[in-house]
């Protein structure tokens, strides 16, 4: 069956490469009769998850695959078929490296067949930040880094530096927990909560990460690699200014709805009085028709700055009443949600929960489109 899968693999030996390979084989089998002569082909799957040495397996032979001559054996398992030996590595073999497939009868002759997996050809990853184009409150909780490809994980604290407007690096600005999107292309970067929370130990000892009115620059290291191993290249600077601390929940009363005209597929636009979390915003609002409370099918998107949400209906708007529902858990940039502030003052008089109410609006004929209001 593996022959039919050849479109997914690379035949790793062509005539020009064989010349160099012969030299390597002779070096690694000094004093041994090479049982891999004539040299067999090595076929590897494109993702490096399977390697086949095309040779009738010698009886009771031992097999080893190494990254290089003399290197430690790679972890994996071997199977034999009538005309080949199959190696399934514990993890797919990294691309762009040379390997050695060794075959040796116990106490008897042996041989080594080198092969190389081709390097990955891919563009360098690019990075951008959300929210973008708005100040971050000095007590902001998080922001997002969007990459154009899945990225190398486990290194983000070494790949990010935060500088203030005096070009002084801020020590320990981020929470250590690493949170990627399932596709590995979006990283949630949390400012260190111990420094951002009022009265918590690090906040008292080290101070907050940001101060209102100051400018900041995040330097993303150009050495950060994509999961395919391609580095960003040059360091990337992402800049923002810090605004006043924000301890107040966003209010539904401050949400403005800009209804489109009926019988069009023009988008519904919703704007806010402060930036909301752009990742949560994309899924936290819902449009429903009043008459049957059914959700309106469509596509939603959050503005990069978190100040607006746009809904594109799949079908033209029918005239009539609608509701905009806001999930109470939707947060602003400082973690205050429509339901409650991020920091609750236990010594203050308890306040009534701030519930997000559905907002009513109406879709009318073109010249009579109206804005919404809380119910």
């Amino acid at each position: 069956m593996w022959h039919r899968a050849a479109d997914m693999r690379f035949l790793l030996y062509g005539a020009p490469l064989l010349i160099g390979v012969s030299a390597l084989v002779s070096q690694s089998t000094v004093g041994l009769h090479n049982i891999l002569n004539p040299q067999p082909a090595v076929i590897a799957s494109a993702d490096g998850s399977r390697v086949e040495l095309v040779i009738p397996p010698p009886v009771r032979a031992e097999y080893i695959v190494r990254r290089a001559a003399g290197g430690p054996p790679l972890m994996g398992r071997f199977e034999t078929a009538a005309d080949r030996v199959i190696f399934t590595p514990a993890l797919p073999l990294p691309a762009g490296q040379e390997y050695h497939f060794e075959c040796r009868a116990p106490g008897g002759p042996g041989g080594t067949q080198p092969f190389r997996l081709p390097a990955v050809r891919a563009p360098a990853p690019r990075v951008s930040m959300r929210p973008a184009g708005v100040p971050l409150p000095a007590n902001a909780l998080r922001f997002y880094l969007h990459f154009t490809q899945p990225m190398e994980q486990g290194v983000f604290l070494d790949r990010l530096r935060l500088l203030d407007d005096q070009e002084k690096e801020i020590p320990g600005p981020f929470r250590e927990t690493e949170l990627w999107s399932p596709d590995g292309a979006r990283l949630t970067v949390w400012f260190h909560p111990g420094r951002q929370k009022t009265g918590v130990n690090l906040n008292l000892d080290e101070g907050p990460v940001m101060l209102p009115g100051r400018a900041y620059r995040l330097v993303v290291s150009g050495a950060w690699r994509s999961a395919a191993g391609i580095p960003i290249g040059d360091d990337v600077s992402l800049r923002w200014t810090a605004g006043p601390e924000d301890h107040a929940p966003p209010l539904a009363d401050h949400v403005e709805i800009h209804p489109p005209a009926a019988s069009t597929t023009s988008p519904l636009r919703v704007t806010f009085s402060e930036p909301l979390d752009p990742a949560m915003l994309a899924t936290a609002l819902q449009v429903r028709a009043v008459h049957d409370d059914s959700p309106v099918p469509g596509r939603a998107e959050a503005a990069p700055g978190g100040m607006a949400w746009t809904f594109h209906p799949h079908s033209p708007w029918a005239p009539g009443g609608y509701h905009l529902r806001i999930l109470p858990e939707l947060e602003d940039l400082a973690g205050n949600s429509f339901a409650k502030p991020f920091e609750v003052d236990l010594q203050a008089a308890p306040s009534a929960p701030v519930a997000a109410r559905p907002l009513a609006f109406e879709i009318r004929a073109a010249e009579k489109a109206a804005s919404g209001s809380p119910e």
Partner: protein
């Protein structure tokens, strides 16, 4: 002869106990893409969290003994692992470690960079390292549900087995909150875990109450009930009573001990010393340099008397002064944990420790104080 009889009795009991751990298990098809936490149950049952898919897998390893201790430290562990995976040591991260109490073998969750490929390795008593073959692993996988806003768990921070159920803690990459999940045993393949607690809180100076994700935890049976003892990202050790709670319930952790400003707990386990006194070992990473040791990675043992305190503590929680080497009573620095990046209990008197010395990893079994 006595040992043989005990072993024979243990083997005879295996089919029954194993059968009780998994429900509708699968015999193939297990894939773990991003293993963020591992732990052991009984009879070689390995619990593995896959953050990429927000699932927890219970795996019958068949590794049920006999018990053997790691004979000698494994030096340059990172290079050995890297060599076996076709890379170099700087591209290897040990994301978690769990000792199988049945065999003494040490299981490592490992991630390779830059492709982020993940696997589980087994270190036997001779120091030999081999991969756990998942292709034929008998297992049950359970999903962890998302939050109210549709946000998914994107990081499973810890898992544990308490005999009756599996606990897991997870964080979302959008909401600043952690959730505690429970999975009943036997673990039913394809089931969805119950959300035990949607939010945990941290109270500072009797004034500010904020959400606080749990970093690590252990199940703990106290005289008055069953608890989860957890460590917040912001350093306090707290307990959560877990009796009589229904799915979807929200609980507030009660802060019992504060290890001092700027410490990030990594691992917890409890043990009983030779005198019969119970301790909680808290393995921690400091925000800044450590005043009393050579590494930001360190650990302390905390008397379980603090955790067992009757009254709710919170703002009365005992604080350790980071500028003082000793005290308060019942909180002691464990010197052997300086430099430790992974820790797990090994039997009742020892612990397995992965230590980072100038970027070089080593694995050893060290005595508990």
């Amino acid at each position: 002869m006595k040992h043989i009889l005990i072993l024979a009795a243990a083997l005879a009991a295996l089919p029954t106990s194993r059968a009780a751990l998994l429900d509708s298990p699968q015999k193939s098809g297990l894939q773990l893409k991003n293993i963020s936490a591992i732990a052991f149950g009984k009879d070689g049952l390995l619990i593995a969290a896959d953050s990429a898919t927000a699932t927890v897998a219970a795996i019958e390893t068949g590794d049920t003994g006999p018990l053997a201790r790691l004979a000698a430290p494994v030096s340059d562990l990172g290079s050995v692992i890297a060599g076996g995976l076709g890379t170099t040591s700087e591209n290897i991260t040990v994301t978690d470690m769990a000792v199988n109490p049945a065999s003494g073998k040490i299981y490592l969750a490992v991630q390779r960079r830059p492709d982020n490929a993940s696997l589980i390795l087994i270190v036997d008593a001779t120091g030999k390292i081999a991969p756990l073959d998942l292709s034929t692993a008998i297992h049950s996988s359970v999903s962890l549900p998302g939050g109210a806003s549709g946000s998914k768990v994107t990081r499973v921070t810890d898992v544990a087995f308490d005999g009756d159920r599996i606990f897991a803690t997870g964080s979302s990459n959008e909401e600043f909150a952690s959730r505690i999940f429970t999975i009943p045993v036997p673990v039913k393949h394809g089931a969805t875990a119950a959300v035990f607690s949607a939010e945990t809180y941290h109270v500072a100076h009797r004034k500010w109450e904020t959400k606080a994700p749990i970093q690590s935890f252990i199940p703990y049976n106290a005289k008055d009930g069953r608890y989860v003892v957890g460590a917040f990202a912001c350093t306090p050790v707290a307990r959560f009573r877990v009796d009589d709670l229904e799915s979807g319930a929200q609980v507030k952790g009660v802060s019992m001990v504060e290890l001092g400003s700027g410490n990030r707990p990594l691992d917890l386990f409890d043990y009983t010393d030779a005198s019969g006194k119970e301790w909680l070992v808290v393995h921690t990473q400091r925000f800044k340099d450590n005043l009393f040791g050579p590494s930001k990675f360190w650990g302390a043992r905390v008397s379980m008397d603090y955790i067992n305190a009757v009254e709710d503590i919170n703002e009365k929680a005992t604080w350790r002064d980071v500028k003082e080497k000793r005290g308060p009573d019942g909180i002691e620095i464990v010197d052997v944990l300086f430099g430790a990046v992974q820790v797990d209990k090994f039997g009742e008197r020892e612990m397995a420790v992965i230590r980072d010395t100038d970027g070089r990893l080593s694995l050893e079994v060290a005595a508990l104080p």
